[in-house]
């Protein structure tokens, strides 16, 4: 039914990820130490004026955390969708030589649907940033 994937047959052991853990520890250490160092090294002369937000010298009005344009959300949502569609290409790309033209046709169909969705959102104006 399925073709066995390369992911399954690969022989990497969890151990080959060990150096990555080491690097993570090192990076964490570096970041942490630097953060601490800068905390202690700098001068501390705080005034209330200094601690308010800088908004081009204009007095701050209201909370900054207001809903931003819906476009940004839309982009994020579309990204999630298209990104996982891209995920489907990965197993195909690994196996596509064995799958041959038949598999290529299937992927062509998949890309067709992908493009359908793409054209749809374009036509709907989801990607229209210029107003």
């Amino acid at each position: 039914m399925y073709t066995e994937t390369v992911f399954l047959s690969a022989t990497t052991t969890p151990f080959s990820y060990f150096p990555i853990v080491l690097q993570l520890i090192a990076a964490l250490g570096f970041v942490g130490i630097t953060m601490l160092a800068t905390h202690f090294l700098g001068p501390k002369r705080k005034t209330s004026d200094k601690l308010i937000n800088f908004e081009s010298g204009i007095e701050q009005k209201g909370n900054a955390r207001q809903p931003v344009a819906i476009k940004y959300f839309l982009t994020a949502i579309l990204f999630v969708l298209f990104d996982v569609e891209v995920i489907f290409f990965y197993p195909y790309a690994v196996n596509f030589r064995e799958l041959g033209w038949e598999g290529f046709m299937a992927v062509l169909m998949f890309v067709g649907f992908f493009l359908c969705g793409f054209i749809y959102i374009t036509k709907k104006g989801a990607l229209k940033w210029e107003d």
């Binding site: 990497t12 080491l22 690097q23 964490l28 970041v31 700098g42 990104d83 790309a93 033209w101 493009l115």
Partner: protein, 347 residues
């Protein structure tokens, strides 16, 4: 030397390598700031930094020191924890990407093969992809935690931009993956060592990847998140001292890693022409390979700077249109063409 069934030489070797790579990234990043100014000056027919040390070579150290000794300000209305977390994540992510890049072939030290790659995992490209995606959190959290309208807007912009360009980037990588059949960067380099560089097979893929790399690093002409004339300086507007430094540094490290990655994936990595027919000691060849990679990387860093001081900044709608309406279809097309050509040749 094995103790408690742990190979301690392996640990030592890796620790040394990691330190080396991290130091290298930091140093390259530091001198990129110097380089950038010099390149800008050269392009604009100026001198650039020339006071601190010979040709201003000590300038980056002075800048770094200054950042350390600046006062650390956390705005009272911001979220303290997230405010610190933002730059930390940015830096952490920048430091992690280098883990799977093969900086060179294997050295043989005292009869023991020492790989110049920190971790050769079979999903190398996916790892980079995953770690780079995390970078957006640093910017997003930093911008949101500042509780500043400009920062928030900048960070949202940055996030949108980064995720938008991740799609064509992923698709370009898929085309590359079809070509190589492996996600391991080591394998990719080894294939190029014995054949042509991938850029020959994947010119379009390279081009797409390059543009996406620009956008991912928030480099000009896509440096919208820090567009100073629109946003007062962008998502790190409220930052000072080393936290600001982290954001800036992370950007330069990312640039370095991107250049190394482009060199690795499309330009043979540590491979250079006729490296196997020189008849030299393998260790020498390895070191030469490392130098080759380094030179390629430096070239791309220079290229990044060159573009920055040559091409004007995009408008945001242009940026998004380029990403979604041009790059994605182009990348899909590239992928399909690659697949079709390979299949056609196979028969």
């Amino acid at each position: 030397m094995t103790l408690l069934s742990i190979d301690w030489f392996f640990i030592i070797e890796k620790v040394l390598l990691i330190s080396g790579v991290l130091v290298l990234s930091l140093v390259v990043a530091m001198y990129s700031t110097w380089g950038e100014r010099k390149v800008a000056a050269w392009i604009q027919d100026r001198f650039g930094p020339n006071r601190a040390g010979f040709m201003g070579l000590l300038q980056p150290l002075a800048d770094g020191g200054k950042l350390f000794f600046k006062e650390e300000i956390i705005p009272s209305t911001s979220n303290r924890f997230l405010f610190i977390l933002g730059p930390s994540i940015a830096m952490l992510v920048a430091c992690m990407t280098s883990a799977v890049i093969p900086w060179g072939d294997t050295l043989v030290i005292a009869g023991r093969p020492v790989s110049l790659q920190i971790a050769d995992v079979n999903i190398g490209i996916l790892f980079i992809f995953g770690v780079v995606s995390m970078g957006v959190y640093g910017i997003m959290i930093g911008g949101w935690a500042s509780n500043n309208k400009f920062s928030l807007l900048a960070s949202v912009r940055a996030a949108s931009q980064i995720i938008s360009y991740e799609l064509p980037m992923g698709l370009a990588l898929i085309a590359l993956l079809m070509l190589t059949g492996s996600l391991s960067l080591k394998d990719i380099v080894e294939q190029q060592r014995h054949g042509l560089w991938n850029v020959v097979y994947q010119p379009l893929g390279f081009f797409i990847f390059l543009i996406c790399a620009f956008a991912e690093c928030n480099r000009a002409p896509f440096d919208l998140p820090e567009a100073e004339n629109e946003l007062n300086g962008g998502y790190h507007l409220e930052y000072s001292s080393m936290k600001l430094g982290f954001f800036l540094f992370a950007e330069y490290i990312n640039m370095f890693i991107s250049s190394a990655l482009i060199a690795t994936m499309y330009f043979g990595g540590y491979a250079f022409p006729w490296m196997d027919s020189l008849g030299l000691d393998p260790n020498i060849v390895t070191i030469l390979g490392f130098l080759a990679l380094f030179i390629k990387t430096l070239f791309f860093i220079f290229f990044f700077m060159w573009v920055r001081w040559t091409v004007p900044r995009f408008r945001y709608d242009q940026l998004m249109r380029l990403g979604w309406k041009i790059m994605i279809p182009l990348a899909l097309f590239n992928m399909l063409i690659t697949g079709a050509l390979i299949l056609a040749r196979q028969q």
